[in-house]
């Protein structure tokens, strides 16, 4: 097969000084599915953003069919036949599928948009590539899998011959993943080239022809998938053998800490995002919440931690009703919160590590006198936390925004876990961070569980929920669809069916998660 595209000597430094790519070489052959693997933060997305013109490299060049090209904007990339499907979809939720598809290249009738033509295009293109999308459906109402399909269609409609998919399976259930794979294989048969970013090795094995492995900004090598096994890849990815299993003893649940009964929470659109949910989390157990993102988990967490309003039902912590409490009072009741979006809620990027570590307890008698803050005690405390949580920073005053994702998250968990919580609400605690930090945070959660904390773990990473949780519930459409008293006893397939809402447990089975 001929080489279609080559990137040579790519170096990219972000404004915060993080070197995302160091002298990276990457090449793709025509008509292959090329896997790009690496841990979070290895530089895969950055490399592809450079190829798609979203980022500019400081050094390096890109050649397409032997000719050097300049890709300084996505517009230029599209012009060269390069399309990208992002991790977070770039769709307008309030418009229909057809309108999203033709956006920017609208068929016109006079000065008006020719809706009928747009719909026709969507249908024809969908048939051609076997990517069927209802053209008249509003994007907001589409399931994630279909939104992704629409994104792929969008790229194809713009004439993409090289399709970059950035962790497309991260948001999909096992069933949707399978479907996506068969569609991608069909696209390959039709002569398209696909770059498939992932950190899931089994997917690479199943789908890809060749694979390029990245680690901390550099390429570790490119191989034919048939010639390497998963162990080799994983070693190259991480630099050592990884224990992805979490080591922990059997949970010994004690009395209930978090009690949720008939909870209803509305979302921004006044829809019932959480619709009559009841469960308990006990001392010494980790209860996982599995589910495709956007099925009410976020709103549930907000209601428990006081960031969102409770519409109906009861939430209590250690017997105290949380409704009407301020966030501060909820924190004082022993709740800590690792937020899903760490850059928006979890830290102030422009302030120093120390300021971020003391945001919750800066006014405890330990750290403040009647007027002045106790500088020495605060510094000692931040140095202790930085050491204990192995935060890599140049000083306690370094801006948090300058740290890598994993270290930022360590600052967040150091602050939250050190408050002596009786309930830990951990929302996607290891999303987008390197493997070292992930292992560290998971081990910490288990430690705190053993020390008697109740842990509510929300994660879109199936592997994480299943490994880390003692028991788990599945949410779909704002309701609990299943309860598994032993998280290890459920199969991934079965979990997928619950997550898609294709299967429900009986209400008696679900009611077992209420411990009284």
């Amino acid at each position: 097969m001929d080489e279609l595209l080559r990137m040579e000597g790519i170096t990219k430094v972000y404004p915060n000084g993080i070197v995302a790519n160091k002298n990276v070489d990457f090449s793709v052959r025509a008509g292959e599915i090329h896997g790009l693997v690496g841990e979070n933060g290895a530089g895969k997305s950055t490399l592809m953003k450079i190829l798609f013109g979203l980022n500019q490299a400081e050094e390096g060049r890109i050649t397409l069919e032997g000719k050097e090209i300049r890709v300084d904007s996505p517009y230029a990339a599209i012009g060269h036949g390069i399309g990208m499907v992002h991790q977070h979809f770039m769709l307008v939720p309030s418009l229909t599928a057809a309108e999203n598809l033709v956006m920017g290249l609208e068929p016109r009738k006079g000065i008006y948009l020719d809706i009928a033509a747009a719909i026709r295009t969507t249908e024809e293109l969908g048939k051609k590539y076997n990517l069927i999308v209802d053209p008249k459906a509003t994007v907001r109402d589409l399931p994630v899998g279909i939104k992704q399909r629409l994104e792929i269609l969008k790229a194809l409609f713009r004439g993409a011959r090289i399709l970059i998919l950035d962790e497309p399976t991260a948001v999909l259930t096992p069933q949707e993943t399978e479907e996506l794979f068969s569609q991608l294989k069909l696209l390959r048969e039709q002569g398209n080239t696909i770059v498939f970013i992932s950190h899931k090795l089994n997917e690479i094995k199943e789908l890809c022809d060749r694979v390029t492995i990245m680690r901390s900004g550099s390429v570790q090598g490119t191989f034919d998938v048939s010639s390497v096994d998963e162990k080799d890849i994983s070693r190259l990815m991480v630099g050592r053998d990884v224990i992805l299993e979490v080591e922990k003893d059997e949970a010994e649940p004690a009395e209930t800490v978090l009690k949720v009964r008939g909870l209803v929470v509305f979302d921004r659109f006044k829809k019932r995002a959480v619709d009559g949910v009841s469960f308990s989390v006990r001392r010494g157990e980790i209860l996982g919440i599995a589910g495709v993102e956007g099925n009410g988990q976020g709103e549930l967490v907000e209601a428990i931690t006081g960031l969102g309003a409770i519409a109906a039902g009861e939430v209590s912590v250690n017997g105290k009703d949380v409704d009407g409490m301020s966030i501060r009072e909820i924190r004082e009741a022993g709740v800590c919160h690792v937020p899903e979006d760490r850059m928006t809620y979890g830290c102030a990027p422009n302030l120093g590590v120390e300021a971020n570590l003391m945001s919750c307890n800066h006014d405890s008698p330990e750290f403040t006198g009647p007027v002045f803050l106790k500088g020495k005690e605060i510094r000692a405390n931040s140095q202790r936390l930085i050491a204990e949580y192995a935060v890599k920073c140049s000083s306690p005053l370094q801006e948090v925004g300058m740290l890598s994702g994993g270290n930022i998250q360590k600052v967040v968990v150091a602050r939250e876990f050190s408050s002596g919580p009786s309930l830990i609400v951990a929302d996607q605690p290891t999303r987008g961070i390197d493997v070292g930090a992930t292992e560290f945070i998971r081990a910490r959660l288990v430690e705190l569980r053993d020390a008697g904390a109740a842990v509510l773990l929300v994660s879109a990473d199936l592997n994480e929920v299943m490994e880390l949780s003692d028991s788990l519930i599945v949410m779909y459409g704002g309701k609990i669809r299943a309860y598994a008293p032993d998280a290890k006893a459920v199969g991934e397939e079965e979990l997928g069916l619950y997550m898609l809402g294709l299967k429900n447990q009986s209400s008696e089975e679900i009611a077992r998660v209420v411990h009284d």
């Binding site: 170096t11 404004p15 000084g17 301020s326 979890g346 990027p349 422009n350 945001s359 919750c360 006014d363």
Partner: protein, 356 residues
């Protein structure tokens, strides 16, 4: 902030000022028949006589007050521009006490200044409350409230405090007991300068070393994070602006009792607007405010001297200021250079074997 980045900020501010001065130079060259003399007057005029340098300090004092007032409000990310009105209405309130009350010396100015400050804090607190209650943008409401302060103040002066026997539209003379004693002979520098110095120290301590200052900085840096951390951000929004208003009112009061014997302003004095420039130049850091205030005052007085003693009109100093503000406020000014710096630093760290 690494050392290099701090250096970069200094270089950037310096370069912005330099570019602005070069533009000023070009204008002088074009406008003036004797550009050498005009330039000399502009740049060195304030140092030319004791009185002129005194003018710089006189002008600097109110700018320190408004600069700190605005720094505190901006630190909380509250873009309250009411320091102008707070300064003015605070001075009006002070004038009222200074004219109508009979109090012993020392007590009289203190009462007057305190009253002016309270009125100022009330004034800047209104936009804050409007924001918390109804989500009204403090930027817009404070801007509009400045005019309310101005016309309401003039109304009070004209109908209740006006001295009909004086030729102009001015108030009665203040009671001598209310005036702040002059500190430096031959200038109008009063003991108010001590208040300014003390304020700088107190404000710096407040912002850096107390929990209330910490909450202001945290809320300003990321309000959602602050709220998540259990901080009552609404309270922070209100008290940061009330404090800012207090300081603006304090500045107006001290300015009035230190420099004048009766209330004679017919326009908003503009110190609130200049305070915005000072706060931006000082990067909202109270410790840098005196430096920024001195710089701006020097620029103003220099331009004033030049316009009096040469053929260059005073107006162009506004042009220089505008250029400086644009260059400093534009965060991507020299961004490419900054990125190169980051790139160099990062690649050096990598080649030195450092891993992130």
């Amino acid at each position: 902030m690494t050392k290099q980045q701090r250096l970069f900020e200094v270089v950037r501010t310096g370069l912005a000022i330099l570019i602005a001065l070069v533009i000023a130079l070009v204008i002088i060259l074009v406008v003036s028949d004797d550009p050498g003399d005009a330039l000399y007057k502009f740049l060195l005029g304030p140092l030319g006589s004791f009185r002129h340098f005194g003018n710089v300090i006189e002008l600097m004092i109110p700018l320190v007050f408004t600069g700190i007032a605005i720094s505190i409000m901006f630190s909380a990310a509250q873009f309250n521009l009411g320091a102008e009105g707070g300064f003015f209405i605070g001075a009006i309130a002070t004038a009222f006490v200074a004219i109508k009350f009979n109090l012993p010396p020392v007590i009289h100015p203190i009462v007057a200044i305190l009253f002016g400050s309270l009125v100022g804090s009330l004034f800047c607190g209104i936009p804050a409350v409007l924001k918390v209650k109804w989500g009204a943008s403090e930027l817009v409401s404070s801007l509009m409230f400045n005019y309310i302060a101005f016309f309401f103040g003039l109304f009070l002066i004209n109908y209740y405090l006006r001295d009909a026997s004086a030729g102009a539209m001015v108030s009665f003379l203040f009671k001598p007991t209310a005036l702040l004693p002059k500190l430096v002979p031959k200038t109008r520098i009063s003991v108010g300068i001590f208040a300014a110095v003390a304020l700088v120290a107190v404000a710096a301590l407040f912002m850096q070393k107390t929990r209330w200052g910490f909450r202001i900085r945290l809320t300003g840096a990321n309000a959602k994070f602050s709220q998540y951390s259990g901080i009552d951000t609404n309270a922070v929004v209100v008290y940061s602006q009330v404090i800012g208003g207090f300081i603006a009112g304090l500045g107006g009061s001290i300015e009035l009792l230190g420099m004048y014997t009766r209330f004679s302003w017919q326009n908003l004095p503009g110190y609130g607007w200049d305070g915005v420039i000072v706060a931006i130049l000082a990067r909202n850091n109270p410790l840098f405010v005196p430096i920024a205030a001195f710089f701006l005052a020097y620029l103003r007085i220099g331009a004033d001297i030049m316009s009096r003693y040469s053929d260059v009109p005073n107006e162009f100093v506004a042009l220089i200021q505008g250029t400086i503000i644009i260059l400093i406020a534009a965060s991507s000014f020299l961004a490419k250079y900054r990125h190169k710096l980051v790139f160099k630093e990062a690649t050096r760290a990598v080649s030195a074997g450092g891993d992130r």
